[in-house]
């Protein structure tokens, strides 16, 4: 927002005075970047000061065909931003950027530039921070194509006055983009997050990383205290089951043999875990 003689001047294309601007009429605070459906997408509009991998001044930004003038491009680790000298600008979150490229084909576009495709629709000076769920067309925008049936996109071109800067701009964006892998990608969820699979450890466990003991292994590893506790619990179980051996027609002796998951209670008359009735508290 620029201030002239007491009144805010809106950078929106439709009106010059903030007082007339329909964004103000929707009670949007100045300084917030918004989209057409009144969603506040970004909270700050200041150039980044941390993690700036590359910045390039004297860079014109063209947003969906509309020139925004000359400013400075900031390729930072958290977001890509561009600001002109007056504080107007926009920021993009890397997950919203589908692709970027260097175009040197002047027959396609008269200037060599860095092309960025954003998978959302932006308002003129706005920024998209999120994946596009917006179906609404930007009615103010000048659009190259109609987007009713397909995902809305925004095309941004950054035209530096120094064409040699295109390579480092591009490379810096590649690096920063790689810092933001797709969180929704289930395929790259690795079971071994961050740590390489330790083969020796696995070999000791006969191919399985042991997470529990079978009954026999477990018994041998019990301390004497543990064994006492186990016997006490088994006794309690046995008592409770003895009162219920008519229940469900299950014969305790034969049923005990069916439990091979290491949870057998070896008192000869108890069914482990099966009928944990309210009489016994564990």
């Amino acid at each position: 927002m620029r201030s002239t003689g007491g009144g805010w001047v809106c950078t929106c294309s439709k009106s010059k005075a903030w007082s007339d601007c329909r964004r103000r009429k929707r009670n949007i605070q100045p300084g917030k970047i918004i989209s057409e459906d009144n969603m506040v997408l970004l909270k700050n509009v200041t150039p980044p000061c941390e993690g700036v991998r590359y910045q390039q001044s004297e860079t014109t930004a063209v947003l969906d065909g509309k020139g925004l003038g000359s400013g400075t491009l900031y390729v930072a680790e958290n977001r890509l931003s561009w600001f002109d000298g007056t504080g107007m600008g926009f920021s993009l979150e890397y997950p919203s950027i589908s692709l970027h490229a260097i175009s040197r084909d002047v027959s396609a576009y008269p200037q060599e530039h860095l092309y960025v495709m954003v998978n959302a629709k932006l308002s003129e000076e706005g920024g998209a921070a999120e994946e596009s769920e917006m179906k609404e067309k930007d009615s103010e925008g000048e659009q190259d194509e109609s987007d009713e049936d397909t995902d809305p996109i925004t095309e941004i071109r950054f035209v530096p006055s120094d064409k040699a800067a295109l390579e480092p701009m591009f490379s810096a964006m590649c690096e920063c983009q790689a810092l933001h892998p797709d969180p929704e990608d289930d395929d790259s969820d690795s079971d071994f997050e961050g740590d390489e699979y330790d083969v020796e450890e696995a070999e000791q466990g006969q191919g399985d990383v042991p997470s529990f003991y079978t009954y026999e292994e477990g018994l041998s590893r019990l301390t004497s205290e543990g064994q006492t506790t186990l016997e006490r619990l088994e006794g309690m179980l046995a008592e409770s089951v003895a009162q219920q051996y008519h229940m469900a027609g299950v014969r305790t002796e034969s049923a005990a043999a069916d439990f091979e998951d290491g949870m057998e209670v070896d008192t000869g008359s108890a069914v482990a875990g099966q009928f944990e009735d309210a009489d016994v508290e564990h």
Binding site: P95, I97, S98, L99, H100, A101, I102, S103, R104, D105, A108, Y109, Y115, N119, E145, T150, D151, I153, E167, F170, M173, C174, Q177, A178, P181, D182, E184, D185, D187, S188, S190, F192, E193, G194, D195, E196, Y197, D198, V199, E200, E201, E203
Partner: protein
């Protein structure tokens, strides 16, 4: 192709077919994108997240309009297909990429070796 220094990326790579894409650096091929556009060019780099960098690209947008782009980077999320060139032997490429990853793990020095892999037998 250089094996990445990131353990996480190496693990992701060897557990997915991205390892194949990392073996075809330098080949010219077509990448079909999610929005039905296509990019044909020389593969410069593919990382574990399937982010792809191409050079000397003919980019055909979803409406069929073609432009030439000198350098091109697409996020893995937006890749639908990567065409594998006919001349590429897929199995051999995968095997050789996996070998490179295992070599990185096995050799000591520069913090990259892990001694337990000396016992690892295929």
């Amino acid at each position: 192709m250089e094996v990445t220094h990131s353990i996480r990326e190496r693990t992701i790579t060897e557990n997915s077919l991205v390892v194949l894409l990392q073996g075809i650096h330098g080949h010219v091929t077509t990448v079909d994108l999610r929005d039905e556009s296509m990019a044909k060019g020389r593969i410069v780099n593919v990382d574990a997240f399937m982010n792809i960098r191409l050079a000397e690209v003919v980019y055909t947008d979803r409406y069929g309009r073609a432009t030439h782009l000198a350098d091109f980077f697409v996020t893995g999320r937006n890749v639908r297909y990567v065409h594998i060139p006919d001349e590429v032997n897929i199995i051999k490429t995968i095997e050789s990429q996996l070998q490179k990853i295992h070599r990185v793990r096995n050799f000591g020095g520069e913090g990259q070796g892990r001694k337990e892999y000396l016992k690892y037998k295929k």
